[in-house]
Symmetry: C2
Amino acid sequence: MSRASYVAADESCAVRMVDPDRVVTVAGAMPGTESIEELAGVFGLLSDPGRLRVIIALLEGGEMCVCDIAAACGHSESAVSHTLRLLRAHHVVRVRRSGRMAYHRLDDSHVRMLLDLGLSHVSHTPDTEAP
Amino acid sequence: MSRASYVAADESCAVRMVDPDRVVTVAGAMPGTESIEELAGVFGLLSDPGRLRVIIALLEGGEMCVCDIAAACGHSESAVSHTLRLLRAHHVVRVRRSGRMAYHRLDDSHVRMLLDLGLSHVSHTPDTEAP
DNA sequence: TCTTCATATGAGCAGAGCTTCATATGTTGC
DNA sequence: GCAACATATGAAGCTCTGCTCATATGAAGA
C-alpha cells in the first residue's frame, strides 16, 4: 500500500533510468493502485479454467441452475456452488431463486465483452476429441 | 485430461440434471480443454497487478528498457525481468537487443485489445493520491 | 413434522505463482 | 584483460487460491 507508485525524475539517488522523460510520462499515465487491482481482479476471474467454463456455460445457456451448470461443465456441484458464490460477490452473475432452485445468469456486460473478445481469438473447437 | 467433458442426456445413473436438452447444447458448445486453458492463460497474464503495470507501461511508452519499466512501475528490476521473461515466452512482448540494453515492446494485438477494453472500463484515474 | 432434495458453507489440503536474494551472462570502456 | 554495468536466471519462501469432504440451510412433498 505504501509502495512508491511514482518516481521523481530529478532525484539523484533514485532508480536507474535511461529515458527519464518517458519514465515520468508513463508513470504519470499509469492508473492508480486501486484501478490496477480492480482490473487485475476482473481478469483474474476469467483466468481459471473451471470458472471460465462456468461463465461460458452461462454465456451459452442463459439462465441455468447449479446442477445443470455442473453437468455441462463436468464439475462437482460443490465446486460450481463455490464458483458461483465468488462470481456473485463480484457481480458477474445474478441469481433468481425459485423454490429450492437457484437460477444463475451473467450480469456484467463488461465481463461478457471481454469473454466474447477472448473467445473469438481461440480456435473455437467445440471439443478436441477425434471420434 | 481424461475428465468427462460432456454428459449423456439419456444415461440413468448420470449426473443430476433439470434441463438435459440445454445441458447437452451447452456442453456441446463448450470449447475443448485446450482452448479453455489457452484462454484462461491469456486472462491469467493480465490478472496480476505487477504484470498489468508492466504491460500498461509498454502500452503507453512503446519500446522501453528494463530499468525504465521498473522505474515507471515502481518494481525491482529483477521482478520486471522475470515478468518480461514470462511475457516473452507467451509472445506478448518482443525484445530488441542493442548492446547490453534490452528494449521491450508489446507484440500481441489480442492482448492489446483485451487491455484496451479493460482499461476503458475502470475509472481511469492516473493516480489515486490527493495532495 | 419428517424425509428428501437443491444449494450453500466451512475447514483443510495441495498446488501454483510472485517476490526477493544471490549469482551468472554478456557488453562497454579503459 | 579487467572493472562497471544491464539484464537474465535459479532457488527459496511465502501467500493465495481452488478443490474436495463434510455439514448446514431451506424448501417441497408425504
